[in-house]
Symmetry: C2
Subunit: 253 residues, 2 copies
C-alpha cells in the first residue's frame, strides 16, 4: 500500500495534542494543499481563517463544547465564500440572483469541505493529527460575528490540527454493502443482518477502548444524535438568511 493510502485508511480524529504549535511553514503547506484541491468551476469559493487569538479560541471552545481546541497546534476556520466573487462581479439582476442562490451556496460549501479534507490529509502526511469540527454551527451567528464574516460568506467547518498526544483505535466504519451501491440506491431496513453485525463490531470497539461500558451500537448512536434538541441548530437557517443566502429560487417563472 502506498503512503498516501496508508494515511487515508488510518484516519482518526485527534483531540489531544502536545504543546508544540505548527510552524508557519506547516500552516502554509496545509493552506497550499487546500488551495490545490478541486473547486467548483475553478471559482475557489472558500476562505480560510487561522485563529490564533486566544480570546477567539476560547469563544470557539465554548461554542463547540470542545475547549480542548484551545490547546491545538493550530486552528482553521473554513468558510464558504461568495463575497470575494461578488466583489469581482458587476451587479445586475442575473449576477445578483446567482450570487445569492442555493446553487452558489452549495458550491461554496463543497469547496470549503473538499479543501478541509485536503488539509486533514496533508497534516497527517506530516505526522499531524486533526479533528474536523461541525460543532462551530452550534452558534453560527456568534461565529459569523466573531470573525466579521461578510454577506455571502458562511462558516462551514472548524479544523483543529496539532502534534498528536494520543493514538486512538481506528473506529470501524459501516460495511461497504451499506454505503456503496451499483447503479441504484439500495434502501436499508432497521433489521438488516449486515447492520446487526456492524452494531456488534461497534459494541466490541467501545468495550476494548474502555469507554461506553454500556453496549453502544451504531444504531443507538444515531438515535441519540437524532434525539438532541433541534432548537440548538435551528439558528443555522436564520444565519444563512442573514448572510444573504435566500434559499428561495432566485428567479421564478
Amino acid at each position: 500500500m502506498n503512503p498516501t493510502l496508508t494515511t487515508l485508511l488510518n484516519h482518526r480524529s485527534i483531540r489531544k495534542f502536545t504543546a508544540e504549535k505548527l510552524t508557519p511553514t506547516e500552516v502554509d503547506t496545509l493552506v497550499s494543499a487546500a488551495q490545490h484541491a478541486a473547486t467548483s468551476t475553478f471559482s475557489q469559493q472558500y476562505s480560510i481563517i487561522s485563529v490564533t487569538d486566544p480570546q477567539k479560541l476560547a469563544v470557539l471552545g465554548e461554542i463547540t463544547g470542545h475547549p480542548w481546541l484551545e490547546g491545538a497546534g493550530h486552528y482553521f476556520l473554513m468558510v464558504a465564500d461568495q463575497y470575494r466573487n461578488a466583489q469581482l462581479t458587476p451587479k445586475n439582476a442575473t449576477t445578483t440572483a446567482n450570487l445569492h442562490s442555493t446553487d452558489k451556496l452549495l458550491a461554496g460549501i463543497f469547496d470549503a469541505a473538499i479543501a478541509t479534507e485536503a488539509m486533514v490529509t496533508a497534516g497527517e502526511s506530516l505526522g499531524l493529527g486533526s479533528t474536523v469540527m461541525g460543532s462551530i454551527l452550534n452558534d453560527t451567528l456568534r461565529v459569523i460575528s466573531l470573525f466579521n464574516l461578510p454577506e455571502l460568506t458562511f462558516p462551514v467547518l472548524g479544523l483543529a490540527v496539532g502534534h498528536p498526544a494520543e493514538k486512538p483505535a481506528l473506529k470501524p466504519r459501516l460495511p461497504q454493502e451499506l454505503v456503496h451501491f451499483d447503479n441504484d440506491y439500495q434502501p436499508i431496513t432497521a433489521n438488516d443482518p449486515i447492520l446487526s453485525g456492524y452494531n456488534h463490531l461497534i459494541t466490541t470497539y467501545y468495550h476494548e477502548r474502555g469507554s461506553h461500558q454500556r453496549d453502544e451500537t451504531f444504531t443507538h448512536h444515531i438515535v441519540t444524535e437524532m434525539s438532541r434538541d433541534p432548537k440548538q441548530r435551528a439558528e443555522i437557517l436564520v444565519a444563512l438568511a442573514q448572510q444573504g443566502f435566500t434559499l428561495n429560487s432566485p428567479i421564478q417563472d
Copy 2:
C-alpha cells in the same frame, strides 16, 4: 516533500482517460478511503453509487454537459444521506425535526464532499486522475429519479475517475493572501493589486496552454460564471424540498 503532499499539490482535473477500467480492487480502495474520512458526529451520512450502466452514464453525460464522463474508468455518484439514519431511528417529533433539518442536510453534504476528496487523493496516489463534477446539479430532479434516491437523500457531486490520457498544466491558484486570513475575514476590493497580479498569471496560463486566446482573467471567469442563466439551477431548491429537506427552522419558539 512527502509523496502525499506531492499528490495533493499536483492535483489537476483529468477529463481524458484511456479505455482501461478501474479494477474492482481499485474501486474498493477508493470507497474504503472515502469511508475512512471524517464524518459529522461519526454518523456516516453519505452513500456512494457506482454508475456502470451505460444508459445511466449517457444520461449523466447529457445532464452535466460532459459526455466524456462515459469514457471514464469509473463513475461515482456521491449522495448526502439521512435516509439510512432515518431507518434506524424511531419516529417522534424530535427525531423527525432533526432528520429533516438544515443542520442534518449540511452534515450529509459535508460528509459526502469530504469523502469525495479522500477518493480523489486515493485515486491520484494510484496514478488515477479524476474530475469532481458539481454539474450533476444541472438537473437535480432527473438525477434523483435516475438513481431512485429516496427521501432524505440528495445528490452532491459526481466523480469521474480513470487512467489519465492527458497531463494538463497545473492551474495557478489565488495567492494565499486573498484566501487565508488571520483571526478576521479580510474583504477584497475589485482593484486589489494582488488580484491584478493573479489575473495576469491566469492570462499567461491560458496563453501557454494554447486555449482561451482572448485575455482570460480570473475576474473575467467569475463574471462569466455569475452571468449564467440562474433558472438552470433554480430547481435545486425544489429538489431539496422534494427530498424532505424543508429548509425551515424545524421547531419555532
